[in-house]
């Protein structure tokens, strides 16, 4: 079960990976550095969407402020496609602006998490996230081999 991390800040990538490690989440993490890379991952030539099954990540962690194509656009495109419509997508962002939250939920994210400054709190958030979405949550994908 793979995790797709869509994040342009390499520091944040490092810290997120470290938080997974600390929480003993050993899943493979694929990093997309901007919105276009994320879309390519799914819909590019021989992309994950066309291959389906294990090629699709079990969880997408999506930043909002992204170069080229922003997070909300990525979310819209993933939700518009039948093959990725049901993927668990968690918005992981610095922003707590109401407009971002409203847009996130309006376009169908599963959770909206604001990255805390305190790394310990951040690590805790990532741990709970992994535990919830990768272990506790029953998604149609895991049950029916979508």
């Amino acid at each position: 079960m793979k995790i797709l991390l869509v994040e342009d800040n390499p520091d944040d990538v490092q810290l997120t990976l470290r938080a997974f490690k600390k929480s003993n989440i050993g899943n493979e993490v694929i990093v997309a550095a901007d919105g276009q890379e994320a879309l390519d991952f799914f819909f590019g030539e021989n992309g994950a969407a066309s291959r389906g099954g294990d090629a699709l990540p079990a969880l997408v962690l999506l930043d909002l402020q992204l170069p080229k194509v922003n997070g909300i656009e990525v979310l819209k495109k993933l939700r518009a496609d039948d093959r990725t419509r049901l993927l668990p997508i968690v918005i992981l962002t610095s922003s707590r602006e109401q407009v971002d939250m409203l847009n996130g939920y309006a376009y169908g994210c599963n959770s909206y998490i604001r990255k805390p400054v305190d790394f310990n709190q951040f690590a805790e958030a990532v741990r709970q996230l992994g535990l919830y979405w990768l272990v506790l949550n029953e998604s149609p994908g895991t049950n029916h081999g979508l």
Binding site: N9, S94, V117, F119
Partner: protein
């Protein structure tokens, strides 16, 4: 009974008495002829009514004293005149048909009112009744004319009529609310010409320092007659001829003999309307002359009543112009204000958008590096602990503490800006219940603390419930925090009413503060206590002040070091 009717009745009675007397004379029923004739003559001569005997060809045969006084002729002079010759040229046709009818016996008496021209040229009004005297065989012998001098009455009637017309004109003026200045001035001028029975008129405005007259309008008749092509518009008062006298003498000036030599007259330019009579008046606003209005070429002399007509009409016009000017000024001001409000609103909207963009970037861009600093400081502490000594670890911990504090400051700053931007929903709020709910939350954070809480019952007011909750959270939260070191902590929330205004208060017996710094309390990020003693970002009271200001209210504080603090607030000023 009206004067008119009374006069008529008197005339009729006198008429009847005389007719009876004539009948008596003719029937020879009276006393001796001689005596009766002389007494008849006396009566006729002294009667307070004009009596004349007129031949059927309208020549005067004889007249009494009153008649001679009425027209200014002697008996002899009158006997050389006919009725037509003493009648005003415009009125010669009046009553002629009636006299014919009387002579023919179709009617008994002819009664008309007409003008006569006196010997001195003056015009008088007479109410005439004419009977025919017949001989025994019924042949008309001569006419008997009775004339009552009604000049005074006519004058009063004319004045009443002109006053009524002036009132109508003024009323009409006042209804010209949507007319232009030119239309109003033109209307008033035409009315002034008509009401003074003049044939031309003009209207000029006087400059503020009363030195320059600016011709505003000429009556249509003057325009039609005037042959001067480029009429001057501006006239300095000092060098203006006769018509400037109204300003120089500050009173109406009447010139009924325009042709006569007058040292004030400068002479008229070629093509100027021929003037026979002239009158003009200054129109005052307080002590200042604002308008000079003039009329000319009335067929009779100008008199006081013309001055009155012209003055009252022009004063009425000036009042209307002033009112219009005031209204226009208000309208212009309103439009300007509206425009300015619109401009400000747009500016405000732009700055609000800017603020939103700023908040957004603060919340995202400033927090990201903080997270990196904190995250990697921790990574150093955890992953490279062996290579760092205790001092180094202390430094790293300080870096992390400062980073996290900065994160809190940014969050508080954003919260404050959100409170300023939040849409307000004013409704009835039970502040007592709200305060209890806040206190219960506080008790949950520190269940071990013993604090005596006193909250007045039933404090209801109109406010935004969400914002008021935040305000009470901050005020009660402060009280809770600053009584943290008291063994017998006490917090009170209540209200007092003074002159109908309700003032709420939150009182505690905590650490208090020095009144010298009271002004700094409500400034965001200003703190009066050290972080070690009482942690916090210093945003709480700034938030409270902003919430109350948004409600149109205010907040102030009282305190003493170590003796607690009281925060008062009002929802309306």
């Amino acid at each position: 009974m009206s004067d008119d009717a009374r006069d008529l009745e008197r005339l009729e009675q006198e008429n009847q008495a005389l007719r009876k007397r004539i009948a008596d004379l003719e029937s020879g029923r009276s006393a001796p002829e001689e005596e009766s004739t002389s007494s008849w003559k006396l009566i006729v001569h002294e009667a307070p009514v004009c009596i004349a005997k007129v031949a059927l060809d309208k020549r005067f045969l004889s007249s009494n004293k009153e008649f001679q006084v009425f027209l200014g002729y002697t008996e002899e002079e009158l006997c050389l005149k006919t009725i037509s010759e003493i009648t005003h040229p415009e009125d010669t046709g009046i009553g002629m048909a009636e006299i014919m009818a009387v002579v023919k016996g179709e009617i008994k008496t002819s009664r008309v009112t007409k003008r006569y021209v006196r010997k001195d040229g003056g015009i008088v009004w007479g109410e005439v009744s004419i009977n025919v005297i017949r001989n025994e065989s019924g042949q008309p012998m001569y006419l008997l004319a009775f004339i009552l001098d009604v000049s005074e009455r006519r004058k009063v009637e004319e004045m009443t009529r002109l006053s009524a017309e002036r009132m109508k004109a003024l009323l009409h003026l006042n209804q010209l609310t949507s007319a232009t200045l030119q239309e109003i001035a033109d209307f008033a001028l035409e009315e002034a010409v008509r009401l003074t029975r003049s044939s031309l008129g003009y209207l000029a405005f006087l400059s503020e320092d009363e030195s320059v007259l600016t011709m505003h309008s000429w009556s249509r008749s003057a325009m039609a007659e005037c042959a001067i092509i480029d009429k001057p518009i501006v006239y300095p008062v000092a060098s203006t001829g006769l018509w400037g006298e109204a300003v120089r003498q500050r009173r109406p000036v009447l010139t009924n003999d325009y042709a006569a030599a007058n040292p004030l007259k400068k002479g008229c330019p070629e093509g100027h309307v021929l003037m026979t009579r002239h009158m003009n008046v200054p129109v005052f606003d307080g002590n200042r002359i604002v308008i000079v209005a003039g009329v000319g070429n009335k067929s009779e002399d100008y008199g006081d009543e013309d001055v009155q007509q012209l003055t009252l009409l022009m004063e009425g016009m000036w009042l209307l112009l002033e009112r219009k000017r005031a209204e226009d000024a208000v309208r212009t001001l309103n439009a300007e204000l509206e425009h300015r409000v619109l401009e400000r609103t747009l500016e405000l909207e732009a700055s609000t958008k800017e603020l939103e963009a700023f908040s957004y970037s603060v919340s995202h861009d400033l927090r990201a590096p903080l997270r990196t600093i904190d995250g990697f400081s921790l990574a150093l502490l955890e992953d490279c602990a062996d290579g760092i000594d205790d001092d180094g670890k202390d430094y790293l911990r300080r870096i992390r503490a400062a980073t996290q504090r900065m994160g809190l400051l940014i969050d508080d700053m954003l919260r404050l800006s959100r409170i300023s931007r939040a849409e307000m929903v004013i409704e009835k709020v039970n502040l007592s219940e709200l305060a209890w709910s806040v206190v219960h939350d506080l008790e949950k954070t520190q269940p071990g603390r013993r604090v005596r809480i006193e909250i007045a019952k039933g404090l209801e007011d109109r406010a935004d419930p969400k914002l008021m909750r935040i305000a009470l959270e901050n005020l009660l939260g402060n009280a809770w925090k600053f009584t943290g070191r008291r063994a017998e902590a006490a917090i009170e929330f209540g209200a007092t009413t003074d002159e109908g205004k309700r003032t709420y208060f939150v009182r505690d017996n905590g650490a208090g503060f020095d009144m010298a710094y009271v002004d700094k309390l409500f400034t965001p990020f200003q703190r009066l206590h050290s972080m070690q003693e009482y942690p916090g970002t210093g945003i709480g009271l700034g938030t409270v002040a902003r919430i109350l200001h948004r409600h149109g209210g205010e907040v102030w504080a009282e305190g003493q070091v170590d003796h607690g603090a009281t925060f008062h607030f009002r929802l309306q000023r």
